[in-house]
Amino acid sequence: MLRYKSYLWIALSLLVIGKNRPVFAATCSCAGVSLSSSIQLNNFEPQVLDLSVHVTQSDISKLVSGRDTVNDETLRNRETETYLLQASYGITENFAVTGVMSWVEHSRSIGSSQSPSERSSGMGDSLVVASYSFAKITPFTSHGFALGLGLRIPTGEDSNGSPITFAEDLQPSQGAWGSSLWFNYQYALDQQASFTVFIDGNFSTNNSNDRGYSFDSEWNLSSGINYQLSSAWTTSVGLAYRDANPHLRQDVSIPNTGGRWLDGTISASYSINPTSSISLAYRIPVARDLNGALQFTTRDSMTLSWSSRFK
């Protein structure tokens, strides 16, 4: 009996650790990283440190008008690489604190132009989230539910560009404070929790930076299924929906910003050992309805993650 329970706990632990839902960068060409997708609220243990690194590459070269793809004759190449360092610590059985730091690199080139490409890099914004777990999946409980409250801190650089400062979408940081609300719900479809469904959501709002620019507010909702293929391998598929308000400059809505995105996500995780895992995730647009006449948006993004647990 004890051995059976141990096996169950090991399996669940592997599932928890291996079920890295990796970070996805912004689906618009906006500053820094949409940190709102980076947090896992309910996968912690008391007095345990979870450390993870996520590297995301996003291709933001797709030209869209409303719901339609538009051919881009300027041959624009726009990419963002983000590096996130995330640390979560379970203070008690139910309460945890998570911190995220970021490093962002943007590049933009216009293929039809003779001009050189433009690049910016630097520290991005940081995030601190306090989360409370009302329920966790155990061999005896099939539901997990947690809420979180977050603070976005403008720790990064927001004035890159010389001699002329780049526009906000090429800055590593938004340069403004923000706040966010989070929830996470999980349901195990079998007693071994090899099959779980999840729903994540968050709402974030941002203030203006020193130039009077604000990314305003957005909410994100994602849902999917995790499946543990073996003791080492876990996969996840899902859909992620994002609704973002238009950006503001001096409280005036900026045309051709904001909109709604629906993306498909797929990931695979491999547990190296009981406390460490790596994962690879891919995100691709399914549908979108973007504000204004023309916007560049994400063509796809890929994230490589490494996670480890320290007791």
């Binding site: 008008s65 910016s120 002329i164």
Partner: protein
């Protein structure tokens, strides 16, 4: 093992970007760092250099083939050796710069949708590459062009290079008439018009900036604001000697109205019509130094006025009949703009009282 893991994480982070942030490792040469204007007020508009593509191989079609235009659409009209050409706002709202080549002459027509300003410049004579592009930069919300020969930046409303090898060089400005497609076609029925088959995938029936043309909002900060008129009121602005004055186009009379002005030793004539949506001004001193007085002529477009000698003049300031036939009134510095843009560049403008 745990220590090595943490060390590896820190290594990854510090290795990224060389441990410090920055932008575009190629710093500009020292001369390119000099601006004639306050560089702190030059902003990146967002699309990047050539992110708004210029039209470099424009195709012109007969006016009756331009089925994508309606009568009330605004166009920028100009003459090439007496032949009429029109470039619709609907197209240049998306491209801002059109590089023109006709009869061996090169010119650039620019339109800034954020300031409502159009300009036609001769290409610099010394250039081999006579094309201009959209720099992606803005000054007082106004387009900054760049020439592809020297990579110098040019302020459209200041009509001058403000940065780069050609800094301080002034543009050679040609006359344009901004008016409706109906008015332009009435004046010049044989006109050619820029085709909407530009080679770019743009919906020219859609205005790219939402409600900007009519609302009171500004998308970028400007150096000076003035609430005496609605920000998007279209005005004919005149800079002549020490004179800085605007004439709101919708305050002209419905028919052709002519205003003879003599202000601060400057004499000029202003022609406008609210119904025709047109306004332009010329020096009212003839080439021989004679000061002319003008009266309006209705219903004879493009002929709009007659002087006290009996000469009749067209909208481009050319005498089409009378003793001075074929004489040309000299240009003065005038162009149409949104009110907010005019006073951003030229504060404390006088407003004509109709």
């Amino acid at each position: 093992m745990r220590f090595l893991t943490v060390l590896a994480i820190l290594f990854v982070f510090t290795a990224c970007g060389g441990g410090g942030g920055g932008s575009d490792s190629d710093s500009p040469p020292p001369q390119q760092a000099t601006w004639l204007i306050n560089s702190d007020q030059v902003v990146d508009g967002g699309p990047g250099k050539d992110g708004i593509p210029s039209i470099d191989n424009p195709t012109f079609i007969n006016g009756d083939q331009a089925t994508y235009l309606i009568d009330s659409d605004l166009v920028i009209g100009y003459l090439v050796n007496g032949a009429a050409r029109a470039v619709p706002h609907a197209i240049v709202d998306w491209h801002e710069v059109v590089n023109l080549q006709e009869n061996g002459d090169s010119a650039v027509l620019s339109y800034c949708p954020l300031t409502g300003t159009a300009a036609l410049w001769d290409a610099p004579a010394s250039s081999t590459n006579k094309e201009f592009g959209v720099s992606g930069l803005l000054y007082n919300s106004n387009l900054i062009l760049y020439d592809r020969e020297t990579d110098s930046n040019w302020s459209q409303m200041l009509q001058q290079s403000v940065n780069g090898e050609l800094i301080r060089q002034t543009a050679t400005v040609q006359t344009v008439i901004e008016t409706t497609w109906l008015t332009w076609r009435t004046m010049y029925p044989e006109t050619l018009v820029l085709s909407d088959n530009t080679g770019f995938s743009r919906d020219y029936q859609t205005y790219p900036y939402g409600s900007f043309r009519t609302d009171s909002n500004l998308l970028f900060q400007v150096a000076n604001e003035d609430a005496r008129l609605h920000p998007k009121e279209r005005v004919l602005g005149i800079l002549n000697g020490g004179l800085n004055k605007v004439y709101p186009i919708d305050q002209f009379s419905a028919g052709v109205q002519v205003i003879n002005e003599a202000i601060s030793n400057e004499s000029f004539v202003v022609i406008g019509s609210s119904d025709l949506d047109i306004a332009i001004a010329y020096n009212s001193t003839a080439s021989d130094g004679t000061l002319l007085q003008f009266t309006a002529i209705e219903s004879s477009l493009p002929i709009v006025m007659q002087d006290n000698e009996g000469n009749q003049w067209d909208i481009f300031g050319k005498a089409v009949s009378g003793p001075r036939e074929n004489e040309q009134l000299a240009r003065i510095s005038d162009f149409t703009a949104y009110w907010f843009a005019w006073v951003a560049f030229f504060p404390s403008a006088d407003i004509h009282s109709f």
